[in-house]
Each structure stands twice: as C-alpha cells, then as structure tokens.
C-alpha cells in the first residue's frame, strides 16, 4: 500500500489524468443535458492529451526546437506532441458537429434534455 502511494506521488501527472478521465466519464453517464455530455467528452479528450504529453516530458529538458546556443541540452520527445496536435484539431471538429446536431435536436423536440427526448420518442413509437 505504501509503495503504491509513493508511486502515485512520483507519477502525479498520470494520476491526475486518470482522475480527469473519471470525472469526464461520470459527467457523460449521469448528467442528462446534452451540453453537459459535450463538456464531459472534452474533459476525457484532454485527459488523454495530458497522459501522452506527460510521458514525453523530461525533467530539466528544453522544448524540441533546435537551439545551437544551448550545448549539451536534453530535448524532450517531439513525437507525442505532433500526434496530439492532430488530436486537438479533430476534437474541435467533433465539437462543432455535435453542436450542430444539438441545434437540430432542439428544433424538433423543444428541449436539450436527453431523458426528455427519449420519453418523447417512446410516446411517438408506442402510439
């Protein structure tokens, strides 16, 4: 138990990323409003970004831009940073499309509550 606590203290960015992922999943599962679900999806995405970039970081390292005045400096790993650049752009486009769908759902059902929308659909199909 003590070893696990010490490891969690050493690996604190991964630990906080796990907690953020859990909070996002809880938001998606238990909140009924569609906007709140969108916030939850965004929080989960950023938790994954923190996990990747935290793995690339080096203590006392410098950023991955070639600098000839710094001799013998340790550069951090540039690969996860490039991959997450793609991820941020994809997350923006997913958010835009989700917002467009929310507008259309609000127009046809008059509410942004997911549970209410499901009730209305049930009434329509059982009649």
């Amino acid at each position: 138990m003590k070893v696990i606590l010490k490891n969690l203290m050493v690996n604190y960015p991964y630990f906080i990323a796990a907690i953020l992922f859990i909070i996002g999943a809880l938001t998606v599962l238990t909140r009924n409003n569609l906007f709140k679900k969108l916030f939850g999806i965004n929080i989960m995405e950023s938790a994954i970004f923190i996990l990747f970039v935290g793995g690339a970081n080096i203590r006392n390292g410098i950023e991955p831009i070639l600098n000839e005045s710094e001799v013998g400096a340790v550069y951090v790993n540039p690969l996860p940073s490039a991959l997450m650049l793609t991820g941020i752009v994809v997350s923006v486009s997913v958010t835009a499309f989700a917002l467009a769908l929310i507008v259309r759902l609000y127009e046809s059902y008059g509410t942004t509550n997911a549970r209410r929308i499901a009730e209305i659909r049930n009434e329509l199909t059982t009649k």
């Binding site: 950023e63 831009i65 650049l85 941020i88 752009v89 835009a96 917002l99 467009a100 507008v103």
Partner: protein
C-alpha cells in the same frame, strides 16, 4: 451592435491581430506555432469583425464564393504539392528525396515544401473557421 467605442477600437486593433496570425503561419517552421494555430487566429479576427459590425457587412467582405474557393483549393493544394514527388519518380509527398532546394536553416524561405504546404493549410483552416461561424450565426436569426 451600435457601440461607438467598440467599433472604433476594433478598427484599430483587428488588423494587428490578422497580421499576427499571418506571422504565426509564416514562421511555423522556425519558431513555435504552425499553420493550424495561425489559421485559427486569422479566422478569429474575421469573426470579431462579423460580431461587431454585423453579419451583412461580414458577408460583403467575405462572399460565399471566396470561402468555397479557399476551402476546396486549399485541400487540393496539399495533393498538388505531393504530386511533385511522383513526377520526380520518388514516393508521394517526398521533400528532400525529390531534390527540392532546402535553403539555409533558420531562414524564412527554408524547408522546401514544408513552408508552401503550411501556407495552404493555414488558408484552408481560416476558411473553415469562417464558414462554421457564418452557418451557425445565420441559423440564429
């Protein structure tokens, strides 16, 4: 919106935001930044113009034809740049293998195809942002 102070301050400050966006696009390969961030900054300066001066003046500045042109040909530009490798007989999107002059490092024109591709991607990201906001604000009224 009919706010006198907002309109006059925006007329002074918006061109500088736009030029800062172009700076970020053009210097993407020698300093932090890049075409995605720069394209979003240029697009946001246009969006500030639209929200302050109204949607009709914004449409007069940026007609739909220009937006469609930028959007589609910006995407095609990436493919055209990649075809240079095919014509030289090396793989698709090759840069140094295709014999492109790389230039001196730390100069603005260095990097061969990288800076050209960056300009194209910056233009198409700008048009994407403006198109999204035009569609969303049209729906509101």
């Amino acid at each position: 919106m009919k706010d006198f102070i907002l309109k006059h301050i925006a007329a002074i400050i918006l061109p500088f935001i736009c030029i800062y966006g172009f700076y970020v696009i053009l210097h993407g390969h020698i300093s932090p930044g890049g075409s995605f961030a720069g394209g979003i900054i240029v697009g946001l300066s246009f969006i500030a113009f639209i929200t302050i001066y109204g949607s009709r003046k914004g449409h007069a500045q940026m007609p739909d034809k220009v937006l469609v042109f930028m959007e589609s040909y910006g995407t095609l530009w990436y493919g055209i740049m990649g075809m240079i490798g095919i014509f030289k007989g090396v793989p698709f999107l090759a840069n140094k293998l295709a014999g492109v002059n790389l230039g001196a490092p730390w100069a603005l024109s260095s990097g061969g195809l990288i800076s050209l591709i960056g300009i194209g991607v910056g233009i198409r990201v700008t048009s994407t942002i403006i198109t999204l906001f035009f569609t969303m604000m049209e729906d509101e009224s």
